[in-house]
Symmetry: C2
Subunit: 85 residues, 2 copies
């Protein structure tokens, strides 16, 4: 049980990390700095930084906000096919 929960935890970490990498990738592809995205979205720069590092298990309302100000469909932020393994 302990091992199972540990594995589950690791998998979630991986997903959260990939989301962060994707967010960073899309943000950079739009030519925006973390600071600029912070100013647009009213999400603090430190939260954006920690999200991109995979340290924040962000909410779907934040996904919607990021997608809105990055001008992408929210589902694009979950397309991890372009993210490094």
């Amino acid at each position: 049980m302990g091992v199972y929960l540990f594995v589950k935890y690791l998998k979630d970490e991986e997903f959260i990390k990939k989301f962060g990498q994707k967010l960073k990738q899309v943000r950079e592809s739009k030519g925006l700095s973390q600071e600029q995205l912070s100013l647009l979205s009213e999400v603090s720069q430190s939260q954006i930084a920690r999200t991109e590092l995979g340290q924040v298990n962000t909410s779907i309302s934040h996904v919607a906000i990021y997608a809105k100000f990055l001008k992408v469909d929210p589902k694009e932020l979950f397309d991890f096919s372009t993210v490094k393994k």
Copy 2:
């Protein structure tokens, strides 16, 4: 400012509601009850029910869990094109 924040709040609500509708749609298309998804995912049935009703601003780790046990790509849960307006 008050009006702006109110509009922003409404928009988030709409996104969270659409996510819930989509989750329900995918779950039903897989022939799973809320109870069955709850047993598989170890997320409580009441939380699944509230998420489907758009009452929970769920985390991306829960998105990953739902996608895993519904056997869909996480990004499919954000494809709202099949969700009623």
